[in-house]
């Protein structure tokens, strides 16, 4: 934070959600001191707590720090050539909303996984801020990390697979958005390397993602500041010999404590670029950063202090970075679709069963119209997102379409989350029902950058 650390004791701003204008008076000062005392346990008041207890990293509370995971060594491989690339999809020229048979099969498999495994695990994963290990293992069997990776690099993509990616993100988020993000994070890094990596980067890093023991990895673009612009990150890269030195604080880092590889956005020579950072690199610190929602993704911050990386670290050019930002935003739109669909599917039977004044509340227009509007806005979000995805798949410029999808999914998606809780009334506010989680999750759409990508 940019706040001045030297402050009068009467100044209360800068923490606890207080603005800088807040000032304490003498009574306020006394109350603050009393509160501090009241918060501590008896042992603390007696001064006998052992300080060593605090060193364990807990992803469920803010402020815990740890070094990056002691990851595997990615053995350097491959020559200096340019990397493999998947071709763009070839359109027939006809308007068509039907997915291919392959895409439909994939959606069916992922949908079943989302319903049978993801949804039942969602509530606990939200509490523990972690997706269950077995569940993440199962997600590997579906091939999630290599969905967007070229066939010749060990993946399953024969062409640009943005549509399949969107459909999978949507289907998985219908189970749970947080778990979906955890399960899809490694794939975001692998897909980026397949799309933009050079021969050496692909040969060095991609085999691990196509293998049995897939590393946790995170596409890291966001930073914890208001009005963050991914094209002007505060995180800086400077040249040092043939390599680079990185400094800055990144946020929304999925499973940061477990991740072995980060793909980090930083400014180099006035342009935003992507850098690979292995977790064991000196100067890498992970800070727990549990947030309003998307908790199962184990969100953390990534603090980079004089982190030296080799020449191999720089992935793609500034134009590629632009595409990565766009494809990541598109993936978040797809996640919004799945979560919003979960809301619609949940409130529909609820308002038909819940009675008030002697009849189901669904029989009242005030309620029924909210449900209708959820359905209308959701279908609009879906079509705008699909159009953007089909343009990406066809290799067409989709900047405009992705920006519109993001705006729409942000506004209308949050509206759906809000209405979802409202339709259940007080029951929507308690954790017995999942709508409060979807409310928290849907707030992420439109503000997130990075983490997932199609």
């Amino acid at each position: 934070m940019a706040f001045d650390p030297v402050k009068s004791v009467l100044s209360a701003g800068g923490k606890h959600g207080l603005s800088e204008n807040e000032k304490r008076d003498p009574i306020g000062l006394a109350v603050a001191a009393l509160n501090k005392l009241a918060q501590s346990d008896l042992i603390d008041r007696l001064g006998i707590r052992r300080t060593s207890e605090q060193t364990v990293f807990r992803v469920t509370s803010a402020g815990f720090k740890t070094a990056g995971a002691a990851g595997r060594a990615f053995a350097r491989a491959g020559g200096k050539g340019s990397g493999s690339r998947v071709p763009a999809a070839q359109p027939t020229g006809l308007f068509d909303l039907t997915p291919t048979e392959d895409e439909q099969m994939l959606v069916d498999v992922v949908s079943e996984f989302a319903a049978e495994m993801v949804r039942p695990a969602a509530a606990e994963a939200n509490e523990t801020c972690a997706a269950p290990e077995e569940l993440l293992k199962s997600s590997l069997e579906i091939g999630l990390p290599i969905l967007g990776v070229a066939e010749e690099l060990g993946g399953i993509a024969t062409e640009r697979s943005a549509v399949a990616g969107v459909l999978v993100h949507e289907a998985l988020a219908k189970g749970d958005l947080g778990i979906a993000v955890a399960a899809l994070a490694s794939g975001a890094v692998a897909t980026t390397l397949s799309l933009y990596g050079d021969e050496q980067q692909q040969a060095t890093y991609l085999p691990a993602f196509a293998g049995e023991d897939v590393p946790a990895a995170a596409l890291v673009l966001a930073e914890p500041t208001a009005l963050f612009d991914p094209f002007a990150p505060a995180t800086k890269a400077t040249r040092s010999g043939s390599g680079f030195v990185l400094n800055g604080v990144k946020s929304a880092v999925v499973r940061g404590a477990e991740a072995e590889l980060f793909l980090v956005g930083a400014e180099l020579d006035g342009e935003a670029r992507l850098f690979l950072v292995e977790s064991g690199t000196e100067g890498v610190t992970i800070e727990s950063d549990p947030s309003m929602g998307v908790r199962a993704a184990g969100l953390t911050r990534l603090v980079l202090r004089d982190v030296a990386v080799e020449e191999i670290a720089l992935v793609g050019d500034a134009k590629d970075y632009r595409e990565v930002v766009a494809s990541s935003r598109l993936a978040w739109c797809a996640l919004a679709l799945g979560t919003a669909q979960a809301v619609l599917d949940y409130v529909t039977p609820y308002v038909k069963e819940r009675e008030a004044f002697g009849e189901p509340i669904a029989h009242r227009q005030a309620v029924a119209f909210m449900v209708a509007n959820i359905a209308i806005e959701l279908q609009g979000m879906r079509l705008v997102t699909y159009k953007a995805a089909s343009r990406v798949a066809q290799g067409k410029d989709a900047t405009r379409e992705i920006a519109l999808a993001r705006k729409l999914c942000s506004e209308r998606g949050m509206g759906i989350g809000n209405d979802g809780v409202q339709l259940l009334g007080g029951h929507g506010f308690v954790k017995e029902h999942p709508v409060e989680r979807w409310y928290r999750d849907l707030r992420a759409i439109g503000l997130m950058e990075g983490a997932v990508l199609v």
């Binding site: 009005l227 227009q365 209708a372 609009g380 519109l404 999808a405």
Partner: protein, 405 residues
Amino acid sequence: MSMNLETPKKIRPLIDQAHQVAMNMLRPISRKYDLAEHEYPKELDMLAAMIDGLADSGASEGAGATGVRRDESAAEKPGNKNGANLASVLSIMEMCWGDVGLTLTMPRQGLGNSAIASVANDEQLKRFEGTWAAMAITEPSFGSDSAAISTTAVKDGDEYILNGEKIFVTSGERADSVVVWATLDKTLGRAAIKSFVVTKGTPGMKVERLEHKLGIRASDTAVITFTDCRVPAANLLGSPEIDTKQGFAGAMATFDNTRPLVAAMAVGCARASLDLTRDILKQAGIEVDYDKPAFNQHAAAATFLQLEADWEAAYLLTLQSAWMADNRTPNSMEASMAKAKAGRVGSDITLRCVELAGTLGYSETELLEKWARDSKILDIFEGTQQIQQLIVARRILNLSSAELK
């Protein structure tokens, strides 16, 4: 091939053509007939002749008011189809980008033509070919509740005798004929409601007056009375049987076809506002950046992004409902979704664009204020916003009209 939501290649030339017509024929007379309400836009006769010519040559892909007919033979060929429904909504969008009122008063492109195309049998279709048909549903005592129709049709030999008063008849004065909704037997409810083609000059049919309106002033809106008006029995569209099981479905089928068209009108009109506002903002030094987060841009640019996002949703919902019709997939819920979204964002976008352009937008020197007036009707006729929500809600919640009133 996977999904593709681009404009179909084969319809592209038609859209370009419609765009040229809208730009070079409708826009230049747009303000003229907004100010000269009730004056017949004589320029349109030549345009209508040209459109007929295009239809005959096959260049129009079957687009237009009659393009909504569901061709039974199409069902036999498997695979994805982009046909007359998509062509119709896409060309109507362009025409309404030009001018909604003038599009509505295009000879032989009336909503009555869509009704005939939707429910007429083959013999009737041939007999009424080339007629310009208006649509008369609403009466002084009801609007949305079409089942409350009180205009009566009584069989007498091989004629029906119509009695009643119809209001809000678009092109009611100019059209060659009017499709009139009337009940054969009020006690039998919706199932007894049938539509009749009444040709102009039929004794007993009288245009009482024309309305003065908020917008679409180039289009005449008539009050028509029917007093012992005798219509040939063969002019009853569809089946004369009162099938209580089928209920209202026959008459309502028209709406499944016309709602995407009205949604397309709203989409076209809203795009006119967006196109001009983008220019006006650019002149003021503000350009929308699709990469930069909305909040890092000028508030006007961020607002524009939101409007354009809603527009894109309305546009694609409209295409979806037409595409489903082309592929013979039941589309009444999707047609209502498109009409609901397009209707409300049509008003929102055009009104917001006036605000964004300030007094320039509010003034008659520009067309922004006109589009903000024109668009309002599109959230009302062919089923109001609330009726569309009701239809969607009943479908999603699987509730009857008795349960969800």
